[in-house]
Structure formats: C-alpha cells, structure tokens
C-alpha cells in the first residue's frame, strides 16, 4: 500500500471493536488475535513463540 494517511488500516485489519490486538510470528503471519483485552490468552500466545 502507499503511504496515505492509513485511514483504511482499520478496515484492512477488520477492526470494528476496540481494543483489537494481533500477534505476528517471525514470518509476519497472524498467530493470535483478540477483540477486547485478554491478558492470559495473550501471554499463552507469546509463550508459544518462545516469549515468556
């Protein structure tokens, strides 16, 4: 995508509610996503990437 002001980024990431969080692995693939805040599941997802 071009520079732009990025105003379509919410649509391209399908973000309709806030907060929304994605976790990407080293290859840039989505390995976890969450609408709303869920600390425990985020930490689990990080652990799977060796981050704990």
């Amino acid at each position: 995508m071009g520079g732009g002001d990025g105003s379509d980024i919410f649509a391209r990431y399908s973000v309709g509610v806030f907060p929304a969080t994605y976790l990407l692995d080293a290859e840039g693939r989505i390995v976890y996503r969450s609408a709303g805040f869920n600390e425990a599941s985020l930490r689990r997802a990080l652990s799977k990437l060796g981050m704990n």
Binding site: Y13, F18, T21, Y22, L23, L24, A26, A40, L49
Partner: protein, 323 residues
C-alpha cells in the same frame, strides 16, 4: 479519521521512572483503606457510576454489588452504561453479561483481579486486589499523593485523598474514604475543561462482613444470551498480516516490514483514547515489552484519532524504532 502510530508506551515507562514525593497523611490513609479492604471478607452495597466525556451528556448507571473473598462477585447495573448488565463470578468463571443477548466468560482470577467492570468502579475493585492506580492492581510508584481534607457529602464525612499520575497517560484520581476506612467514592479525570473526561463511582448502603455463601454466587447467563465472540470478526489466524505504512506523530512514517525485521514476535494493537479497556492494556504491554524487547519482541500501537480533542497531550510515539 486521522490515524497515527503511537509509540509503544515503552518510552513513557523507561524514561525517568522515579518515585514521586509522597504526602505522609495521604499515604497513611490509603494504607488504612487498603487494610480495611483486604481485611473485609464480604461486602454488599448499592453502586452508582457516572461518566462524562467530551461532547456527550453526563451518563449514569446504578445497581447493586455483592462481593466475597477471594474472588466471588455479583455486580448488576442498569442505565446508560451499555457494556455491562451483570458481572458474575462464581469463583471459577467470570461471566460478563453485556446485555440480555450476549455475554463473555473468562477464567476467574484467583484473587478477583478480573472483577473489573466498569473499570472505574474503583471502590468495588479495591475490595479485591486493586490499588489506587486506575490502570490496574499494581500501585503506580510514580504517582503523587495528596491529602485533600475532610468533605461532607450527603450527610456523611469523608477523608479525601488525591492521586495524580502520568502512566500510561496523565490522570488525577480522588478517593473518598469513609469512617469505616473503606474507599466509598472515586473520581478519575483525564484532561481538563471541555476536553476533560471524568468517571465517578460510589458505594452507598455498605454492609461489610455479612454472611454470604458460595452457592449464592452461582450464575448462568439467561437463555436469551449467546456467547459473544468478537474475535471471530478479526482476520483469521494463519493469514499474513496486511502490509502498512503509516505516519507517525513526529512526522515520519513507519512500515510493518521495518518493524518486523529481525523480530520473532510483533504485537499490533488498535486503540483509541476514550476506550477504557484499551487503557487497561497499556501497563501490560509496557511490562511485556520491557521484559521481551531484547529477545525480539516489538509493539505497534495504532491509534484511531477520531476524537482529536481527547487525545492526551503527552502521547508518545512509536516503538518499532529499533534505535
């Protein structure tokens, strides 16, 4: 809608974290309040919450709370707050019934940490693990405390303490401590004047250490309600994250590829200023980033700047930079 990338909060955390000067009288009172909350086994009360945000009228909800250590809770409210009808913890599961048609559930934290809705109902949260830091259970060591004085409200005398902090964004909170030493009222304010937002909560008709049974906290969502899986609407796991290049508040740009390069894990967070759960996430992201950044972890926070008037003046700009 203007978008900007706001920095991984890390800047705010790592820069100049030093303990603020303390007010001995305020701190002594807060210590007594904490002892009273931690010492109470059960609490029943009426709850009123209200909040005022820029451009919106004052909104209110009211209801009842019943709480029992270590993590049993039932909070029922009705009114303008449309994200909460009932919060119920039976000790194992916290159910949040947002409205009669949808609920979410999560494992109950053993100490009641996730009995936390509405987020600004600090007199409720303080019963379990909550400190006077509006952003989470852990105290904000950099916050300034100040004893304000006595105040008579609705015929009852309170001692008032003010707590002012900067992390993760500037706030001022005031707490009314009752003769029973419980925090009975709280006000959390962000910004000032027309741009300011304030969030109030109060407990009345408070009864401490009434006998309660675990079974009285059993809960099942109503038959009309369905589990609400908002995450299902997001991009699926396994898909490559869409590329982006976005402006940063300092006039530069940042591209996902640059952030990701050499990183084992990249967290992308979408948030906006007046979103309470977004605020609660920040301290967690901060501590994760501080702990994991040297091992290849990056955080990109993308702010929906649709209400520029409420954007905190001191927002810092992005991580991603590897400096």
């Amino acid at each position: 809608m203007r978008t900007s990338l706001l920095l991984s909060i890390t800047c705010a955390l790592l820069a100049g974290a030093q303990n603020a000067p303390k007010d001995g009288r305020a701190d002594a009172l807060l210590a007594e309040a904490t002892a009273a909350s931690r010492g109470a086994q059960t609490l029943a009360a009426d709850l009123e919450v209200s909040w005022k945000t820029p451009g919106k009228p004052l909104r209110k909800s009211a209801g009842t709370v019943r709480l029992m250590k270590p993590n049993f809770a039932r909070v029922v409210v009705a009114g303008d707050y449309d994200d909460l009808d009932t919060l119920a913890s039976d000790g194992r599961t916290v159910y949040t019934l947002h409205d009669p048609t949808r609920y979410t559930k999560a494992a109950a934290d053993p100490q009641g940490k996730n009995v936390d809705s509405p987020w600004w109902a600090l007199p409720v949260r303080h019963f379990f693990t909550q400190s006077v830091n509006p952003f989470g259970p852990a105290p904000d060591a950099t916050a300034k405390t100040r004893y304000v004085g006595e105040e008579i409200v609705e015929g009852e005398t309170f001692q008032v303490v003010e707590v002012a902090g900067e992390k993760p964004m500037p706030y001022v909170a005031r707490f009314h401590v009752g003769a029973d030493r419980l925090i009975r009222r709280s006000v959390v304010e962000f910004g000032q004047g027309e741009r300011g937002a304030s969030f109030r909560a109060k407990l009345t008709n408070v009864r401490v250490d009434q006998r309660m049974s675990k079974s009285s906290f059993r809960y099942a969502p109503p038959a009309t309600a369905r589990p609400d899986d908002l995450s299902a609407k997001l991009l699926p796991v396994g898909q490559a994250a869409p590329q982006f290049t976005l402006p940063t508040p300092d006039g530069g740009t940042i591209a996902l590829d640059d952030v990701r390069k050499g990183r084992k894990a990249t967290l992308i967070n979408f948030w906006y200023v007046n979103c309470p759960p977004c605020r609660r996430e920040f301290p967690v992201f901060q501590s994760l980033y501080a702990k994991l950044k040297d091992r290849g972890f990056a955080v990109v926070a993308i702010n929906r700047g649709d209400t520029g008037a409420t954007r905190p003046r001191r927002s810092k700009v992005i991580s991603g930079k590897r400096s």
